[in-house]
């Protein structure tokens, strides 16, 4: 038996393969729901209603999707460059924490000034963390996988210290630590008056389009793709690899940090130990499902945002645990990775 590369897989074949993966994913979801003991039909209806049954639930799904799309995009740009960072998680937190610190420093100023400064602080926080990983790699040859993973722990515990000490709200307890609530005036403004449709949603869309254009049409995007495929050829043709690694990691940090500031200033309005956790890792999965393309990541992000949102409603109506979504996410990732391989290769029996 041999594995053979398909020469130029056709569009219909691609659609058929990914369609089959989606159908299998749905079937496995049904299996998972029935294992949980809930009625399958009613649960699926509840899932759908919760995800997109009303303007409010759609808005809520989009808001849920926003940080996932952003961390997904942060993954796209690095993975296309061949930098296998897993630090999106800590970049989100660094962005949120830097913004929070800025909000403490600027309390009392005009809301516009505060919000702009806080967002800028978030970007700086994410960029700094990305730059640190890039520096470890280009200066000391430390794998970005290792350094970004370790930084996740450091940032996680730093946040735990901040919200249990300097930033702890009065009335917080040892078991549940959080900051106080952000002053209403400093919340990210809503773009439409439904739910929490904050301005970060628009920013995420802008980043999707910008990244898509960057990768497809701009010299930097060309370099990013080339580095991912053959860094040697690229650097031998005069491109400074160190600077490129730094640029990519900073871009990734900035995009992930947007997710952090959007969540804290637009949705939860306070920093807690757990409201940001998991977003970075979800972003990796979503970017991979989206084929590491910004538009694919947008679609995958919206889909899983909606599932997350719908699962809350399903949990209320039929009692299926919300952890179901995490399981579906894993199942779909595996199915899509398989589909990607099936699309490109075929097996020939000798």
């Amino acid at each position: 038996m041999r594995i053979i590369t398909r020469s130029g897989p056709s569009v219909t074949w691609s659609i058929a393969v990914y369609g089959a993966a989606a159908v299998v994913g749905l079937l496995m979801t049904i299996v998972l729901i029935s294992i949980s003991g809930a009625p399958v039909g009613a649960s699926l209806v509840a899932l759908g209603q919760g995800a997109a049954g009303s303007p409010a639930s759609i808005a809520s799904s989009v808001v849920k999707a926003t940080p996932l799309i952003l961390t997904g995009l942060a993954t796209c740009v690095t993975y296309r460059a061949g930098l296998w960072t897993v630090g999106q998680e800590s970049q989100v937190v660094a962005g949120a924490a830097a913004a929070w610190q800025m909000s403490l420093w600027t309390t009392g100023m005009a809301p516009v000034v505060v919000i702009v400064l806080c967002v800028l602080a978030a970007l700086a926080g994410g960029a700094a963390l990305g730059a640190l990983v890039a520096w470890f790699r280009t200066r000391f040859g430390i794998s970005e996988i290792v350094s970004s993973m370790m930084l996740n722990y450091i940032v996680f515990f730093a946040l735990a210290w901040l919200i249990s000490g300097p930033w702890m709200a009065s009335g917080g307890t040892a078991s549940y630590q959080q900051t106080g609530l952000l002053e209403r005036a400093y919340w990210l403004p809503n773009i439409v008056d439904v739910g929490k449709m904050h301005i970060g949603v628009v920013l995420a869309l802008i980043v999707v389009i910008w990244l898509q254009v960057l990768l497809k049409r701009m010299p930097l995007g060309y370099e990013i793709r080339a580095m991912g495929f053959n860094a040697t050829a690229l650097s031998q043709r005069g491109v400074d690899k160190r600077r490129l690694v730094l640029t990519v990691m900073v871009i990734s940090g900035v995009i992930a940090a947007l997710a952090g500031v959007g969540e804290v200033f637009g949705v939860s309005h306070r920093l807690t130990g757990d409201n940001l956790s998991g977003m970075g890792f979800d972003g990796i999965i979503i970017a991979l499902i989206g084929g590491l393309s910004p538009l694919g990541t947008l679609v995958a992000g919206l889909f899983f945002g909606a599932l997350h949102n719908g699962s809350l409603f399903m949990n209320v109506i039929t009692g299926v645990p919300t952890a179901l979504v995490t399981a579906i996410q894993g199942v779909v990732l595996i199915l899509f990775l398989i589909a990607g391989a099936v699309r490109r290769y075929r097996i020939e029996r000798a």
Partner: protein, 510 residues
């Protein structure tokens, strides 16, 4: 045909890859005690044929017989069991293991024991028979390339090979090592072994007993070695006559294009790999660098291209001091490089032809419009390159990883020849290419020279260097051990300089 009964026989072998027919109804007989040569251009189907003969590929039609019995090789292991041994062009050896360990690894037929004692006896006998001296306990990395090839051959014979297939065996050898190899082949032949060599070098083919010539996947003839001539073989191989190669430059070289002084480079373990090299090349001159691979040619060219920073030394290219500057600065100064390994260093495999053509120039003003790469200008540039170098590909957006070696090299050529306005560096630019593309490459190097560009050509093929170069520097152990003129020096002298022997009595005439 031959007097003996064939030990290995291929009957009507056909192999297709998609729509490409790599081998079309190829038959051949290999007799015991003969040297059989598979000859043809690259892409003629020699490698596919030898891959089927040793079980790596399975034919779509036809079959293989060993000693008159029909076989069905599912893997190289099946072929080895039938006594078919294979020595690949790129050796399959473990550098950290010793010679004997390399030979014995994976061959044990007695469970977990290595059986080194018996192996040692048999191997010393084999070495004696072949007339070679090799230290069985030396770690492989200490061996020269030629000696590593002996290990591959011993490995096959240790497994009782009766037919030994050698793929391009002299591609990496010095002339002296090649001579020794053919001596060994002669001894194997005398012992009744059948030896099949795959080659496209005419000089080697003429030593064979039987020659099978392939062209475009078909067998176009089987010749007795005694009847074959260079002319008849060439005609068969390319299906016509080759234009004879034009002479060296007639115009006198111009001003100094490159002046390197005291260049030093260190390897990853701190060892000196380029040792105090100074050279001067004028524009309108082709300067050859002869040497066995791994004697510092690659790091030297890398320093001249700005890819590797010299430990010390100075480097003047055009009218600029460039040492310590970046590869981008070297490119701006008009330096182009055709790297040794086009896929690893020259091309981005999944990128299209068009994207590869602009690699390194993707930020230049004439390819960009504002913040964006101007797609139409890239397309125009790529289409022009495809026409100019007759790159055979379905479209300009075909990934270069799908191109044949020759067409991929033409993509590199198109980009780098355009780039090189002062200095063109070429490291083995014709390696693994078929004779048609080789001619194109040589022609383009001459054209650059005539345009007044300085060309530095690194090659292991002394014939090529003698055909093309105005002067030849020979590298050995990181140093340039001598600079000779092809007009007044013989190939043998260059060959012995390549292995570190100073020419006896200086350079004599050819």
């Amino acid at each position: 045909m031959t007097l003996h009964r064939p030990v290995l026989r291929a009957v009507g072998l056909t192999k297709r890859f998609g729509s490409v027919v790599a081998n079309d109804d190829v038959s051949l007989d290999v007799a015991a005690g003969e040297l059989h040569c598979l000859f043809g251009e690259n892409g003629a189907g020699k490698s596919t044929l030898s891959a089927m003969l040793h079980g790596e590929l399975q034919p779509d039609a036809g079959h293989i017989e060993v000693d008159g019995r029909r076989t069905d090789f599912r893997s190289p292991a099946d072929a080895i069991a039938e006594g078919i041994g294979m020595v690949h062009q790129h050796f399959v050896l473990a550098r950290a293991l010793t010679v004997i360990e390399n030979i014995v690894a994976g061959t044990s037929r007695s469970g977990w024991r290595l059986g080194l004692t018996e192996a040692r006896e048999r191997l010393s006998r084999l070495c004696g028979d072949l007339g070679i001296a090799i230290e069985l306990d030396a770690p492989l990395w200490q061996l020269s390339v030629g000696e590593q090839q002996w290990v591959e051959i011993l490995k096959a014979l240790y497994l009782d090979a009766r037919v030994l297939i050698l793929d391009e065996p002299t591609a990496v050898l010095t002339p002296q090592e090649s001579g020794k190899l053919f001596g060994m082949i002669g001894k194997m032949r005398d012992r009744g072994l059948a030896v099949v060599i795959v080659t496209h070098k005419l000089r080697e083919v003429l030593q064979a007993d039987t020659i099978t010539v392939l062209r475009r996947g078909r067998k176009v003839g089987t010749l007795d070695g005694r009847d074959a001539t260079v002319e008849s073989l060439t005609r068969l191989m390319i299906g016509g006559d080759l234009a004879s190669s034009p002479a060296r430059s007639s115009n006198s070289p111009g001003r100094v294009a490159v002046q390197a002084t005291g260049l030093m480079a260190k390897g990853s373990w701190g060892e000196t790999i380029v040792d105090d090299v100074s050279l001067m090349v004028r524009s309108g001159e082709i300067f050859g660098i002869a040497g066995v691979a791994g004697n510092g040619q690659k790091p030297l060219l890398e320093m001249l291209a700005g890819i590797r920073e010299p430990e010390s030394g100075s480097l003047l290219i055009g009218d600029r001091q460039l040492e310590g500057l970046s590869a981008a600065d070297f490119m701006r100064a008009g330096v182009g490089i055709i790297p040794e390994d086009r896929y690893a260093e020259g091309l981005v495999g999944p990128f299209s032809i068009a994207e590869n053509i602009i690699l390194g120039r993707h930020r230049s003003k004439d390819l960009c419009r504002g913040l964006f790469i101007a797609g139409d200008r890239v397309v125009a540039k790529a289409e022009e390159a495809m026409r100019r170098y007759s790159i055979a590909a379905p479209a300009i957006n075909t990934p270069v990883s799908r191109l044949s070696g020759g067409n991929a090299q033409k993509v590199v050529l198109a980009r780098e020849l355009d780039q090189a306005s002062v200095l063109l560096l070429a490291n083995q630019p014709t390696r693994g290419l078929d004779i048609g593309v080789v001619a194109t490459v040589h022609e383009e190097l001459r054209r650059k020279r005539d345009e007044g560009v300085a060309v530095i050509l690194v090659s292991e093929d002394i014939d090529d260097l003698f055909d093309l170069c105005d002067r030849i520097g020979v590298m050995f152990a990181g140093r340039i051990v001598g600079i000779v003129s092809p007009e007044t020096t013989s190939r043998d002298i260059v060959g012995s300089m390549m292995v570190g022997r100073a020419p006896a009595g200086g350079a004599t005439c050819a």
